[in-house]
């Protein structure tokens, strides 16, 4: 099964092995026809309607604005419904450095997102701490505090790179299963179990 989006031929993707691995995992146990077509419908809806949370900490956020503007126009793909309330958003573009003081806030925002939720770590800072890795106050990659689905490198990544990242996310959503199987929710639960909140204060 070739997983791709309308905007890009299958051969142009850089990491088809990864997605094929997921497809094989998905197919391994066989699937009921009804559930399978239902999954397809659900995934069509989900992968074509990814609403971002307006969340930006630094430079990458400005590129995210550019992504929404006339030249790059993410509205073409239906991503322009940026919601300010995490309850209504589908994915969180962690655009910019995450520092110690921000970490609990990011985690809370992630917890507030409604399922299914996804995270794209955008830019060097969010991936690994970037140029500020050796600072006393910088989290070395947002992957330490929340599970990340797609990494989008760059400092800041160009809007084209961001489009590619979100399309990758859209592709990943396409190989999901609503019940069990290749269900990223399990991995997510494992992650959250391994990274508990220290103590709930309120």
């Amino acid at each position: 099964m070739e997983v791709t989006t309308k905007s890009m031929p299958y051969g142009d993707w850089k990491d088809n092995e990864y997605i094929e691995g997921m497809v094989n995992e998905l197919k391994a146990n066989g699937v009921n026809v009804v559930v399978g077509s239902l999954d397809k419908l659900i995934n069509w809806g989900r992968s074509n309607s990814i609403w971002p949370l307006t969340f930006a900490t630094s430079c990458c956020g400005i590129e995210f604005i550019s992504l929404g503007a006339a030249r790059y126009d993410m509205a073409r793909f239906g991503w322009e419904v940026a919601r300010s309330s995490p309850r209504q958003a589908d994915f969180m573009m962690v655009a910019g450095t995450i520092v110690h003081r921000m970490a609990p806030v990011v985690r809370r925002l992630y917890d507030q997102l409604a399922e299914p939720k996804y995270v794209i770590a955008t830019g060097g800072c969010a991936i690994s701490g970037g140029p500020f890795r050796h600072s006393y106050h910088v989290v070395k990659g947002v992957g330490e505090i929340i599970p990340v689905d797609v990494y989008c490198p760059g400092c800041p990544p160009r809007p084209e790179a961001m489009i590619y990242a979100i399309m990758q996310l859209s592709r990943k959503i396409k190989v999901e299963r609503f019940f069990g199987g290749v269900n990223r929710q399990e991995k997510q639960q494992d992650f959250l179990k391994n990274h508990p909140l220290d103590k709930m204060t309120d």
Partner: protein, 540 residues
């Protein structure tokens, strides 16, 4: 200045007077407050330009840069203490309002307590942070301060160290918000704060009664990182401070190092730098007015300036290869030569800009709702602008002629014809219009230079290893949001002892509480948008 020296020597015999680039006064802490009062009242040093915490290893202290806003003379004052356990200095918050936020920063980083400061809390770091990171003996072990995922306790009470009688200091509790107040938490994740700024806002109905500012949600410790790097390595951080005036910030740091090393920058490089700075300024103001309009609810107006901004980014990209973090200036000049099409591109831009500006005015500025929302909202008076050190378009909209390009010309600005945009209303509309007029002036500068780029080297010959002599240097430039200062103190060698980026946004954020008192919640958004701070610039 000679007059000042004589009077200080007479009245403060303890003070040590050093004649350098700027007049330097070293005073003991006990005399500092009275000296500051005299400097402000009798010599007109009414603007605290920079307040820099320092750790010299044995001594802790603070360096002040004061400016006389009528003559633009500067004086540097150094106050030190040898006590490293509980260092205490006297606060000058009562004389300079901006000191309130500056001193909290120094307390946060160096643990220096300021006597009589009304609010001695941490500013950037969590209130359960262990240690003071900018001290040379700070324990950077990540186990001491791990990434905590619990929310820090927000307290409505702060402490203040009050001097009741000379030498007698009392710790007092000060209430920030009373339990009856309705406190709304705006930020750090909020669409209108232009980043991750947190404002705890007490409201009475829709009217704001007080704002408590929380910073540090993007504090990356850049200044501390610089202390462990060589000078060329520190350059790239400036692009990521205020990413919208990346070129200008980097220009400032390069100028400062060049000043320290006495490097003569080739003429071609100087022209290129100024042109890049002005392109940067236009693009920054375009984004500023765009996001401001979006904050006011006119979403469409965001997209028109962004369209022109893309044109500028194209020009910059063809030369530097990047859209935002350019890495273009270097010590001695610029890294790469101009793109062959640079001049034609700039000329094309100069053609479309006047039309574009006319269009913005048509779409937004003349709108009656826009006028209602912006006229008379967040009025900053001229003395307040000096008091809060609000420079840039904000200061100039209040009638304070504070353009560093005119006051302390650097590069080739002294040869150029342009007007300093000064308005007198001081409200949000004035700040908005000041930005638009500044874009016109920047276009004027570009038009003068576009055909006058001389041939020659793009970079001076600089030694392979850049070492600065012992000493300290302070260089200001006019960034998009105001006067951006770089302070370098070197103990010799290839690494700085202290680098301080004195960012304009920090002071603007400090003025938010003052500007919003008694205004509506919606006005908070207007004022924030019109000040146009960039949060990574505030937090560094």
């Amino acid at each position: 200045m000679a007059n000042l020296q004589a009077i200080v020597a007479e009245k403060f015999p303890e003070a040590e007077i050093v004649n350098g680039e700027t007049l330097e006064l070293n005073v003991p802490d006990a005399k500092w407050h009275s000296l500051a009062t005299m400097l402000k009242d009798e010599f007109g040093f009414d603007n605290l330009t920079a307040l820099i915490g320092m750790d010299w290893g044995d001594l802790l202290g603070v360096v002040y840069y004061l400016t006389n806003t009528s003559t633009w003379e500067m004086v540097r004052v150094k106050v030190t203490t040898a006590d490293r356990v509980k260092p205490m200095l006297h606060s000058i918050t009562d004389l300079y309002a901006v000191a309130g936020i500056y001193e909290r920063e120094v307390y946060d980083f160096y643990g220096i307590i300021f006597i009589n400061h009304p609010d001695m809390r941490r500013l950037f770091l969590r209130n359960d942070w262990v240690g003071f990171p900018f001290r040379k003996d700070y324990d950077a072990n990540p186990e001491v301060n791990p990434v905590r995922l619990d929310h820090e306790k927000v307290d409505d009470v702060t402490v203040s160290y009050v001097e009741t009688a000379p030498g007698k200091i009392e710790k007092r509790k000060v209430e920030i918000f009373s339990p009856e107040q309705f406190v709304v938490n705006i930020g750090p994740q909020h669409p209108a704060t232009h980043g991750v700024l947190r404002l705890r806002t007490a409201v009475d109905g829709e009217t704001i009664t007080k704002i408590d500012l929380y910073l540090g949600y993007i504090h990356r410790g850049i200044e501390k990182l610089c202390e462990g790097l060589t000078y060329p390595q520190t350059l790239h951080f400036t692009d990521r401070l205020d990413y919208l005036s990346a070129m200008i910030n980097r220009h400032a740091l390069c100028l400062c190092v060049e000043k320290a090393m006495n490097i003569e920058v080739p003429r071609r490089a100087q022209v290129i730098r100024v042109m890049m700075d002005e392109l940067m300024r236009i693009s920054s103001h375009l984004l500023a007015i765009g996001t401001f309009c979006m904050d006011l609810g006119a979403t469409t107006m965001l997209f028109y300036p962004l369209r022109e901004r893309e044109t500028i980014l194209d020009i910059l990209e063809r030369t530097t290869g990047a859209r935002m973090t350019f890495n273009y200036n270097c010590i001695g000049g610029v890294i790469a030569d101009l793109d062959p099409n640079f001049q034609t591109d700039v000329k094309k831009l100069l053609e479309i800009m006047p039309k574009a500006i006319k269009e913005y005015n048509k779409v937004f500025t003349g709108n009656v709702i826009a006028h209602n929302r912006m006229d008379g909202v967040g009025v900053l008076s001229d003395p307040d602008a000096k008091d809060y050190n609000c420079t840039g378009p904000t200061g100039r909209a209040s009638g304070w002629a504070c353009d560093i390009r005119k006051r302390h010309p650097y590069g080739i600005y002294s040869e150029l014809q342009f007007e300093e945009v000064v308005r007198h209303e001081g409200d949000s509309m004035a700040r908005f219009k000041a930005r638009i007029s500044e874009m016109e002036q920047s276009c004027r500068i570009l038009a003068q230079l576009v055909d006058q780029i001389p041939e020659g080297d793009i970079c001076a010959k600089v030694p392979k290893i850049i070492k600065l002599p012992e000493g300290h240097w302070f260089q200001q430039v006019e960034a998009c949001r105001g006067a951006f200062g770089v302070y370098i103190e070197s103990a010799g060698g290839n690494q700085p002892l202290r680098v301080k980026f004195n960012s304009p946004g920090f002071c603007l954020a400090g003025a938010v509480d003052h500007l919003t008192r008694g205004e509506k919640i919606a006005d908070l958004i207007t004022i924030g948008g019109s000040l146009d701070y960039v949060v990574p610039d505030i937090d560094r």
